[in-house]
């Protein structure tokens, strides 16, 4: 893998993968960093780099979540929690905190499909290859999740206006 490919993949997928990993664990940045480093250590470039990145991120994030749960159980402390989204510019209709909260309330299978499709730019076929299952199943999860999100976000006032 040359430097241009690495830069492109990092710029294109780092944010999406971080958001994707954040739904599983707290140290999402570390997980994404390890995944990109692991991609560079591959002897051959994966045929579908986006799918490979999402699958690797998912596996590592789940492992990280288990480690965090063990650590919390033994030490009684958790890592610092970070926001999922940057603060939006003025005039932006959706509130970042509300969107984060609404996403967290979704079932995991709907949430990961929404993140992979919306911010990862993956098609449902690619999502099916990366996560398993069929493209139709993931499309159905996606539409159900989006409907739930819209209902939640449009009905409830923004969290930032509450304070």
């Amino acid at each position: 893998m040359n430097a241009n490919d690495a830069t492109y993949l990092l710029d294109r997928y780092q944010a999406a993968l971080t958001l994707y990993a954040r739904q599983f664990c707290l140290a999402a940045e570390d997980v994404v960093q390890e995944v990109f480093v692991s991609l560079c250590q591959q002897s051959t470039m994966p045929a579908n780099p986006a799918g490979w990145l999402f699958r690797a991120t998912r596996n590592r994030a789940i492992s990280q979540r288990r480690a965090e749960q063990r650590r919390q159980k033994h030490e009684g402390q958790s890592a610092e929690r970070r926001e999922w989204f940057e603060k939006p510019q003025e005039g932006f209709t959706l509130d970042a905190q509300s969107a984060e909260q609404a996403l967290q309330q979704l079932p995991e299978e709907q949430r990961e499909v929404i993140i992979a499709h919306l911010w990862g730019g993956m098609t449902f076929e690619e999502i099916a290859q990366a996560l398993g299952g069929s493209a139709a199943t993931h499309w159905r999860r996606y539409t159900n999740g989006i409907s739930s999100l819209r209902q939640t976000l449009e009905s409830a006032p923004p969290i930032s206006q509450k304070h």
Binding site: A3, L10, Q14, L19, A28, F85, L94, L149, R150
Partner: protein, 175 residues
């Protein structure tokens, strides 16, 4: 729905440090040649050093345990005897001719090819003479009348010379 998706998509996820990740990716992309070469070499030498250390320790321990002890062992060694070699000047020289060689002793082993009938007869007479005395001698051949008679002293002398013994041993008395 598409409008809501666009609004949602416009939210920017927070990310980690881009430059740090790029640096680590570049570092990871460099594959060192023979990655396990030097670790293997150092491991081998460490094992050798450890083995030598253990061997040295055991040698020192065993040296302390050993008590010097003198053991005498008797052994019988058979060595083939070699005839003493005398210097050439010391070697005794055999006389060229002896009376016994002229009339060899019957007990001396000789080559069978050298034995002739006269020798056998002589040996037979010699044994009978030693056993029975002078009476066992055969009759002397008769001399020609023309020849002078042989005196007994001549016979005694010849006989003693033949047999290699003194006349006393023959039991011959002087007449």
């Amino acid at each position: 729905m598409q409008e809501f998706e666009k609004k949602l998509q416009a939210l920017v996820p927070t990310t980690g440090q881009r430059d740090q990740v790029l640096f680590l990716m570049g570092q990871a992309s460099v594959k060192p040649v023979n990655r396990w070469l030097w670790p293997s070499v150092s491991l081998v030498f460490a094992m050798i050093a450890l083995g030598l250390g253990i061997a040295l320790y055991w040698v020192s321990v065993r040296e302390k345990e050993v008590v010097p002890q003198i053991i005498y062992v008797d052994r019988i060694i058979s060595v083939p005897a070699t005839p003493p070699t005398l210097p050439p000047s010391v070697t005794p020289q055999q006389p060229e001719s002896t009376p016994t060689e002229k009339y060899p002793s019957p007990w001396v082993k000789r080559d069978p090819q050298d034995v002739n009938p006269m020798t056998i007869r002589y040996q037979q007479i010699y044994r009978e003479l030693l056993r029975f005395g002078i009476d066992a001698l055969p009759q002397a051949p008769l001399y020609e009348s023309t020849a002078s008679p042989v005196s007994s002293s001549v016979i005694r002398q010849d006989l003693s010379e033949w047999l290699g013994v003194s006349p006393k041993e023959l039991g011959i008395r002087k007449q």
